[in-house]
Symmetry: C2
Subunit: 463 residues, 2 copies
């Protein structure tokens, strides 16, 4: 017991150093003042000294206490991976393969979704795991003590909270189906308003347009509630109460450490993490769950959103609520390469749901970063590189057929398949997907949106 | 023009120094760390140096730029008055007469309610000014460009926002009557929850009890809306939107300067000033005012609440709303003397609405600080001191008859009236006041409270 406590506190120190390191990088990234950076670096060094004093050895970024020897790579690559920067607003890496997700798991202190867990989920649900799970697109989790992977998973009182901005929604639909649980989708239009140069009406307008896209993905209206923060705060007897509860238990020091806020940030930004966190607790939705606080929330999100929910999981026991469980996905890569995540503000950075067949073709052909060789001859001889080829990465998201995908991987790697052919395959997968989506979206009337966004009872099975 | 701009910027600097000085005092008052205090003092000194460089002379606390020579008192008393400390949570002075309110007007940059303004209000309303105005209990204002004191005041689109905790509500009733406007009463139960060791339910419970006392004062239900923040946030389509708007336009640096928050404060406290501010804008109450944003808010409050509304007035033009107008009152003194304001948590610090006739008698006799002499002989010879006598101060609040009050002042000052007799007079004024209040409060049913706290249309005259 004493030993495991010592471990926990060493781990806490380790995590503080990690967080402080991220903070320093964030300061540098935004060209903060020398004073600010110096003082953050001083704090970092002092934490590292405490760590050495406690552990008898230097802090190593990829070697948390109680986790001996990740071994293999302590050389230049370790240093390079340390350059990855991930927070809710910025994702950057210098590697064309994208972020080193295994290192992120270590740094964030989450757990890997391994083959065994996927098998257990398959046994528990009786369903073939979604290809996002099979292919490691969801690669990390914080499932803690809940039992999604136990045989009684259907009886777990759970709801799913989604923030769908950068994730293909099919995975949410799959989860909702196999667990048969309610799904609440938070649209943080207040965040958009606080961070961007928008009016409230514009921010809300975007949320409604977003809702149409979500609805067009075919969610069951009896099990799905979509809400805008700006709208729902004034309709829910429970939401604001949870916001205040969370806000009471998080200090500015904490959000400064987690999100890199500074004294010049607006008090709106500073207090926003509590708004993001509150829907993780079921009594934020009294219309759905009454005053029950024991229903656990499962949050599938891109890994860059993890800081919000690390904070939420810290706060939960302090205010008597269960910790939300998390499933982390990789980033949907930008067409230009996996160094950054796609950006909604750059029309060429990704395929959008509004794109025409022609735009899709042009974008893929023109902008999708290729892992092919410089000449056809070289390509035929040495083969292409699927690890950095964005068209191939997109296929892992959108092509459900495992055999076909594997065949493409082999053919492209061997040089049998040329870049033009790979891109053509992707275009032929995307064009009907997007066209069907657009057709379904046209059917989504304002009345249907209103219905989805009206607080009401949802149907669910558990007690 | 250039000249007045220079003045404005010197005044800004002056105000920054004042604010920073208050911040230093706040840090000292709460025994902040040496580092924190040192860094705040350093900032203060640097501001003072900038001021001297800009103005060619030293910063003097009671001599703002463009306001030549308050003259009379630059000696020890000026220093003493500088020791007054006033913010929303702490009011302290070393003088038994209480805070030097004239100095506060200079320091806060508000305006004095003088005889001329009172006469204009009398002419405009056709009503005798309330004794709180006649006697200088409301002593300061920020009425700006509105026209409460013009002949057309009845046509001004105004509502009154009250935070009644430490002010006898009769003044609000008088204002509501003479201007015939809606009154909204904000009960900041979220603030109580954030600052104190209470549950949400407890904080809300106190708010409801508080509402009963307010209702018992006889407010017109057709013109009065009472709301708890915790409750109303989830019922108003407009409140949260205004909160976010305000939060976007206020930085942590600003609330740090105004309220003395530190990095260790909860993000709830840090963002709370926006909650306090939002009801100053009429579209926070769509049930009452629709989406109108042009209706001006008049806020009578104790002067220690001014920082919230200085902030609100700063933000208002940035978000396209009219600035709220303010009337500032002195503090209701503690029985023990005017050095501090009364505290709800110390039962002997004031007369409470729940006190029995006997408790009133005992408290006044035992705890009310006396301005009388040590012996009857001395008292008869030299007279008592009304300026420090708390019983006399209470009479200025509760005895409406000016002639009678003046007679008491004369008799006590001359020594014709003894302290026991003065206290007896106060007891005889308070006992029926409180007893009547208690009788009326008993009539306030839960249904009536619910009605007052239900968002709904209110009646008003203006266009």
């Amino acid at each position: 017991m004493a030993n495991s406590e010592a471990c926990a506190s060493a781990l806490e120190l380790f995590n503080s150093i990690t967080t402080q390191g991220e903070h320093v990088r964030a300061l540098k990234a935004r060209n903060a003042s020398k004073d600010e950076i110096d003082s953050a670096v001083k704090m970092l060094l002092s934490l590292k000294m405490s760590y050495k004093a406690a552990m008898g050895e230097d802090y190593k970024a990829d070697c948390p206490p109680g986790n001996p020897a990740p071994g293999i790579n302590h050389g230049p690559e370790a240093t390079e991976a340390e350059e990855d920067f991930v927070d809710p607003w910025t994702v950057q890496t210098s590697s064309a393969k994208g972020i080193d997700y295994d290192k992120l798991i270590v740094r964030f202190g989450s757990s890997k979704i391994d083959k065994e867990l996927i098998n257990r989920i398959e046994r528990a649900t009786g369903q073939r795991p979604h290809h996002f799970l099979r292919r490691g697109i969801f690669f990390s989790h914080r499932l803690g003590s809940n039992s999604y992977h136990d045989s009684n998973c259907k009886e777990v009182s759970t709801y799913i909270k989604g923030d769908i901005s950068f994730l293909p929604p099919c995975f949410f639909r799959w989860l909702q189906d196999v667990f048969n649980v309610p799904l609440v989708i938070q649209m943080t239009d207040d965040e958009k308003y606080l961070w961007k140069d928008l009016t409230l009406d514009q921010a809300y307008g975007y949320a409604v347009e977003n809702a149409k896209d979500i609805i067009a993905c075919g969610f069951d209206i009896n099990k799905t509630f979509i809400f805008s923060d700006l709208d729902y705060m004034g309709m829910s007897p429970g939401f604001y109460k949870n916001v205040v509860k969370i806000q009471k238990h998080v200090t500015f020091n904490q959000v400064k450490g987690i999100f890199g806020f500074t004294d010049s940030d607006s008090i709106g930004k500073i207090s926003f993490p509590a708004i993001q966190a509150a829907p993780s607790f079921s009594n934020s939705f009294p219309q759905i769950f009454g005053d029950r606080t024991d229903i656990q929330c499962l949050i599938p999100c891109a890994i860059d959103q993890d800081p919000y929910f690390r904070m939420t999981r810290d706060v939960a026991p302090k205010i008597g609520y269960p910790k939300p469980a998390l499933l982390h996905s990789t980033f949907f890569p930008a067409l230009q390469g996996a160094q950054t995540k796609m950006s909604a503000s750059d029309p060429n950075s990704s395929i959008f749901l509004t794109d025409t067949a022609k735009q899709i073709k042009t974008k893929v052909n023109k902008h999708a970063f290729s892992g092919g060789r410089d000449t056809i001859e070289e390509h035929r001889q040495f083969g292409g590189n699927c690890d950095v080829d964005v068209s191939f990465m997109y296929l892992t998201f959108f092509l459900e057929d495992d055999d076909k995908l594997e065949q493409i991987r082999k053919d492209y790697s061997s040089g049998a398949m040329l870049t033009g052919e790979l891109k053509k395959t992707l275009i032929e997968v995307l064009q009907p997907l997007i066209a069907e989506h657009q057709a379904r979206r046209k059917e989504v009337t304002d009345e249907i949106v209103k219905e989805f966004m009206t607080p009401r009872k949802l149907s669910f099975d558990f007690q």
